[in-house]
C-alpha cells in the first residue's frame, strides 16, 4: 500500500471509532461503545489475515450499530459521519490486495493517488449531503416517503440494467 493510502486508512479508522464511540458515549449507550471498541482488536487481527470477508463484515457491523444508534436517539450527525468514515475504510481495505499486484511502483503510486482523490471526493460529498439532510426538517406523509423510496430503488435498478445491457 502507498504511504498516503496507509495514512488515509489509519485516519478513517480512527475517525470511525472516535465518531461512533462519541455518539454512543454522549447518548450513554454503553453497549454500543463496547461493540465499537471491540472492533479495534478485530480490525488489527483481521488485517493481517487479508481476507475480504472480514472487512465486509466490519462494514455491516458498523452500519448496523449506527442504525441502532439512530433508532436509540444517539447523535445522527455523528452516526452518519461514522458510517461514511467506515465506508472509506472498507474501500481502502478492499484495495489492499490489489495494490500489491503491480510491479512498477510509479504505476501503483499514480493509480492509488487517483483512487484516493476520487474516494475523498465521494465520501465528503456523501457526508455533506447527508448532514445537510439532517438540518432540513421536512414532514412528509408516509405514502410520499414510500413512493420516493420506491422511485429511488427503481431508478437504481434501471441504471444497472442499462449498464448491464451496454
Amino acid at each position: 500500500m502507498e504511504k498516503s493510502t496507509e495514512i488515509a486508512y489509519r485516519i478513517f479508522q480512527f475517525a470511525t471509532i472516535f465518531l461512533l464511540v462519541s455518539g454512543f458515549g454522549i447518548a450513554k449507550i454503553w453497549l454500543g461503545v463496547i461493540i465499537i471498541l471491540i472492533m479495534i482488536p478485530y480490525w488489527s487481527i483481521t488485517r493481517h489475515l487479508q481476507r475480504k470477508i472480514y472487512s465486509w463484515v466490519s462494514l455491516v457491523i458498523f452500519v448496523g450499530v449506527a442504525a441502532c444508534g439512530l433508532l436509540s436517539n444517539a447523535s445522527s450527525y455523528l452516526m452518519v459521519a461514522g458510517v461514511s468514515s467506515a465506508l472509506a475504510c472498507w474501500e481502502l481495505e478492499d484495495q489492499l490486495p490489489k495494490s500489491m499486484i503491480s510491479s512498477i511502483p510509479s504505476v501503483t503510486s499514480s493509480c492509488e493517488k487517483y483512487h484516493l482523490k476520487i474516494l475523498a471526493i465521494a465520501i465528503s460529498t456523501g457526508l455533506i449531503v447527508a448532514e445537510a439532510g439532517l438540518f432540513l426538517k421536512l414532514t412528509l406523509p408516509f405514502g410520499l416517503v414510500f413512493l420516493a423510496a420506491v422511485l429511488v430503488l427503481f431508478c437504481i435498478f434501471q441504471l444497472f440494467s442499462l449498464f448491464k445491457r451496454n
Partner: protein, 419 residues
C-alpha cells in the same frame, strides 16, 4: 454485476426498508454516503474503450533455462480510463524471474503504456492469442472485460550438451566430398593422424617436421576419406514406456539425448533424420547442417508423450526417412515386447544403436518403501538386463544410461561391439 456492487446495493436497500419500517427518515440519510459512492462509481465507469495492444518478446526462440522477456504495449485511442487491470495467463511450470503477471494502471487519452516481465518455462511451443484487460471505475463497481488481440508464439528449445568425443563410428553410407557445395574440386581427404613410416608410403605423405625432431625414424601422415553416414534418430515418445512412477517420466532425458546426439552427428557432417514415435508421428527427412538441427530441435521442443502409438508402426518405416543400411539410433526406455520389432530392423540391415535411459537409482531407492516395492524394482531391473543382453547377443550395440550420470560421461565411456 460484481459482488462489491451487490453488497453496496444490499446495504442501501436494507437501510431504505428499515427506514420505511421504523418510519425514521434519518435511516434514509445513512444510505446517502453509499448512494453517492455508487453514483461516483457510475460517473467514472468506463465508456467507449478503444485500445490497441501488442506483445513482443526478447527472443522468439530460446533455450530451456534462459529467461524470456515479454513486452506488453497498450495504446489508448479513446477517452481516459481510470482503472485498468491487466491479466496475463500463467503457463504450466512457469517461473517468474522479474515482474508480475497482473498489473493495475490508469491510462489517459492517447497514452501508450508499456509493461514487461521475465519468466522461465520448460521446453515447448507457447502461444498467446489475446491480452485480457478489465476496465472499471476507481472503486471497481462497474467492470468491463476486454480481450485485445495480441497473437504471439515462442519456442523454448530443449537443453542440449556439447559432445566432444564419441567412440561410435558408423559405417559410411554416403560417398561424397563433403556436405558443403564448392565449385572447385578438393582432395576429399581429412587429416587423421601421424604414424611411423612404412616402406611404400608416398614421399608426399612424409611428415617432415616430426621426422626432423626424431632423426632415427620417419613419420607419415594419415588421411581419412570424407565419408558420411545416414543417421536416423528414433525417439520413443510412448507414455507406456516413459512413465515409471506416478507422473515421473524419462521423456525429458530422452529429448535431451536426442538433441545432443543430433547436434553431434550433424556437426560431424553426417546426414541426420528423425522419427518421433508419438501420437502424431513427427518425421524429419534426412538433411545436413544447421538448418537440419533447427528443424530437429523445433520438433523436439513441442513433442509430447503419446498414448495410442505402438512400436509396430516401425513395420512400415519409410525408406526415404531411414535409407537402407543407415544407422538408426533408438532412444527408448524399452519394453520386453519391443525385442522382435527392433530385431527385425537389425536383420533388415540397419546398423542399430540403442540408448536406454534408466530411472535414477537414488529415486527408486527413495520410493521402494515396502519389501514388495523393492522386489518389484529388482524384478524389473532383471527383466531389463535380460532384454539388453538379448540385444547384445544378436549384435546390437546398447548403451544403458542411468540418468543419475551425465549423458556425456555415459556416451564417452560407452564401448561398442567390433563388427
Amino acid at each position: 454485476m460484481n459482488t462489491k456492487l451487490n453488497f453496496i446495493l444490499l446495504i442501501i436497500i436494507s437501510l431504505f426498508l428499515s427506514a420505511l419500517d421504523r418510519r425514521n427518515g434519518n435511516l434514509c440519510l445513512l444510505a446517502i454516503p453509499f448512494l453517492v459512492y455508487l453514483g461516483t462509481g457510475l460517473l467514472f465507469s468506463p465508456g467507449d474503450i478503444q485500445f490497441l495492444a501488442s506483445r513482443t518478446f526478447s527472443s522468439l526462440r530460446s533455450n530451456e533455462n534462459e529467461p524470456i522477456e515479454v513486452f506488453l504495449t497498450i495504446e489508448n485511442y479513446g477517452p481516459a480510463i481510470h482503472h485498468l487491470h491487466l491479466y496475463e495467463p500463467a503457463l504450466p511450470n512457469m517461473y517468474m524471474v522479474e515482474g508480475s503477471l497482473e498489473q493495475r494502471f490508469t491510462i489517459s487519452a492517447g497514452e501508450k503504456v508499456e509493461f514487461h516481465y521475465k519468466f522461465q518455462v520448460p521446453r515447448g511451443w507457447y502461444t498467446w492469442q489475446t491480452i485480457k484487460l478489465t476496465a472499471s471505475d476507481p472503486f471497481g463497481l462497474f467492470k468491463k472485460t476486454l480481450q485485445l488481440p495480441a497473437e504471439a508464439r515462442v519456442l523454448v528449445l530443449p537443453k542440449e550438451s556439447a559432445l566432444q568425443r564419441f567412440n561410435f563410428h558408423p559405417k559410411p553410407t554416403l560417398r561424397t566430398t563433403g556436405p558443403y557445395l564448392s565449385r572447385m574440386a578438393g582432395s576429399g581427404i581429412d587429416f587423421w593422424g601421424v604414424r611411423e613410416y612404412h616402406p611404400g608410403d608416398s614421399m608426399r605423405l612424409l611428415y617432415w617436421q616430426k621426422t626432423a625432431r626424431h632423426p632415427q625414424c620417419f613419420f607419415s601422415k594419415e588421411f581419412e576419406r570424407e565419408e558420411m553416414a545416414d543417421i536416423g534418430l528414433l525417439l520413443d515418445a510412448r507414455a507406456v514406456t516413459n512413465q515409471y512412477y506416478g507422473n515421473e517420466n524419462l521423456f525429458e532425458y530422452s529429448i535431451h539425448a536426442a538433441a545432443t546426439l543430433a547436434k553431434y552427428f550433424l556437426s560431424s557432417g553426417n546426414r541426420v533424420s528423425m522419427l518421433l514415435l508419438s501420437d502424431n508421428l513427427a518425421r524429419i527427412f534426412p538433411g545436413y547442417g544447421k538448418q537440419q538441427l533447427v528443424r530437429i530441435l523445433d520438433q523436439l521442443a513441442g513433442c509430447t508423450l503419446g498414448e495410442r502409438v505402438t512400436l509396430e508402426t516401425l513395420k512400415y518405416l519409410p525408406g526415404r526417412l531411414f535409407p537402407s543400411h543407415s544407422v538408426i539410433l533408438i532412444i527408448s526406455p524399452l519394453q520386453s515386447q519391443d525385442f522382435s520389432t527392433i530385431a527385425r530392423l537389425h536383420f533388415k540391415g540397419y546398423q542399430l544403436l540403442l540408448l536406454k535411459p534408466s530411472p535414477a537409482k537414488s529415486f527408486l531407492k527413495d520410493h521402494s518403501k515396502s519389501t514388495l516395492d523393492s522386489l518389484a524394482i529388482r524384478a524389473s531391473n532383471l527383466e531389463q538386463a535380460v532384454l539388453l543382453r538379448r540385444f547384445q547377443q544378436i549384435g546390437i550395440d546398447v548403451i544403458d544410461w542411468n540418468v543419475d550420470q551425465s549423458l556425456i560421461q555415459t556416451l564417452q565411456s560407452a564401448r561398442f561391439q567390433r563388427k
